[in-house]
């Protein structure tokens, strides 16, 4: 018989976790499983999941402090993280749930059949599941959640406390770090400065500018009026640009 599925439960409400435990007990014969741990907050879940190996996390979305969406996002960045199934009473989150790579989405109260179906569905891809590569960003914008396709992004820039994403039309605030974005999109985004990644598909060239005694490179993006400074440290991108 296959190894039992290792499940981790995250919900800030005690009765809600107890309900999931009962259901998992009920489907033991249909689907051998083991609850390897539980947490009552997002932060506690992330800490525990760094220690405990689980195949799947049943994750509540609306929790005080760090919500389920953020937990899923951070888990997605860790190699070998468990898959995520959201469990929530709030169906308005369905769309964004899949944006952060959730495998499934269950509404509370959860029915046994639906839980089994969701768990069965993820078993085959259990080992080495790789989240699908994104071709867009998801930003919150005045109470809406909007998708910005990667090709519309001109550049991403780190400001003091957040990252701004620039399209031809406007600027958005993105809740991600430049370093992670650079690692995620090595072929698409190019680091030209400690605080700036440009989208290679809009990069048309570099220009040497004189600033007093000094000269420095700036990046040009098609007919975009603004030029972006290339830091001395990243000056090698100009050389690479010449070569290919």
């Amino acid at each position: 018989m296959a190894e039992p599925l290792r499940i981790f439960l995250v919900d800030d409400e005690t009765p809600a976790r107890s309900r999931l435990r009962s259901l998992l007990g009920d489907c033991m014969e249909m689907l051998p499983n083991e609850v390897v741990g539980e947490a009552d907050s997002g932060a506690a879940a992330l800490a525990a999941l760094a220690q405990v190996r689980a195949d799947v996390v049943l994750l509540d979305i609306r929790m005080p402090g760090m919500g389920g969406m953020e937990v899923a996002r951070q888990l997605a960045d860790r190699p070998g993280s468990p898959q995520v199934i959201f469990v929530t009473a709030y169906d308005a989150h369905a769309l964004s749930a899949f944006e952060v790579g959730a495998r499934d989405y269950l509404l509370k109260p959860v029915r046994l059949e639906r839980l089994v179906e969701a768990l069965r569905r993820l078993r085959p891809v259990e080992a080495g599941a790789v989240p699908m590569k994104r071709d867009h960003f998801v930003v919150s914008d005045r109470g809406r959640v909007v998708r910005i396709p990667l090709e519309e992004v001109l550049y991403l820039r780190a400001e003091l406390k957040y990252v701004t994403l620039r399209t031809r039309e406007r600027e958005y605030v993105l809740d991600e770090s430049l370093t992670k974005l650079e690692e995620e999109f090595p072929g698409e985004l190019l680091r030209i400065h400690r605080n700036c990644l440009v989208n290679r598909c809009h990069l048309t060239g570099f220009e040497l500018r004189r600033e007093g005694e000094e000269t420095r490179w700036v990046a040009m993006l098609g007919n975009w009026p603004e030029v972006l400074p290339v830091s001395r440290r990243q000056a090698h991108v100009v050389r690479d640009f010449r070569l290919c």
């Binding site: 800030d12 107890s18 009473a89």
Partner: protein, 187 residues
């Protein structure tokens, strides 16, 4: 429609989930939650708009907070101060429960440490006063639902008491306070 405008629909699903979670381990507590839920929804469904006894409104609000305390555990504490209030006072139906729902939803649920909701009811001269206070750490937690319930109560106060009743909502000392004053009317 009437149901939706008075109680958040998610409250029902969260409560049912709480009942299901308690059913096997604490069946008696599960029964209490269902009894409170039944009382609350019976009142909602039969609401006719005529003035209601303060005693009944307090009972409904208590039924509501009992459910939430079961769900949220030690994160929610509700302090009632209503000794000596005239239970026969006539007040608009559902004048109290939505204030508590707001207090729990905006003031307690978003906080990991939880919080205390204070309900004070007292008679001053011939004026009945209801005060609900909850912690508000970050103003960004406030959402439009808050305003909706307050607007709704304000309208109903005006309907029954005209300019003789008033409601104020403000932030003070890290707390969100809703204060209602209306003439003491009894039947």
């Amino acid at each position: 429609m009437a149901l939706q405008s008075r109680i958040r629909p998610h409250f029902l699903f969260n409560s049912l989930n709480t009942v299901l979670g308690l059913m096997r381990s604490e069946p008696q507590l599960a029964e209490t939650v269902l009894e409170n839920l039944a009382e609350l929804y019976r009142a909602l469904l039969s609401e006719s708009g005529v003035l209601s006894r303060l005693e009944r409104e307090i009972a409904l609000a208590r039924a509501y907070t009992e459910i939430e305390v079961t769900r949220l555990g030690s994160r929610l504490t509700v302090n009632w101060q209503c000794q000596g209030v005239p239970f026969d006072a006539l007040v608009p139906p559902f004048v109290l429960q939505p204030l508590l729902e707001n207090a729990v939803y905006h003031g307690v649920e978003p906080s990991e440490a939880g919080g205390v909701v204070n309900v004070t009811i007292f008679l001053k001269g011939d004026q009945l006063n209801l005060v609900v206070r909850n912690p508000c750490e970050s103003p960004s937690h406030r959402q439009s639902g808050n305003r909706m319930a307050l607007t709704n109560i304000r309208e109903r106060l005006a309907l029954h008491f005209d300019a003789e009743a008033e409601m104020s909502a403000y932030e003070a000392g890290g707390e969100f306070v809703v204060q209602i004053r209306m003439p003491y009317k009894h039947g």
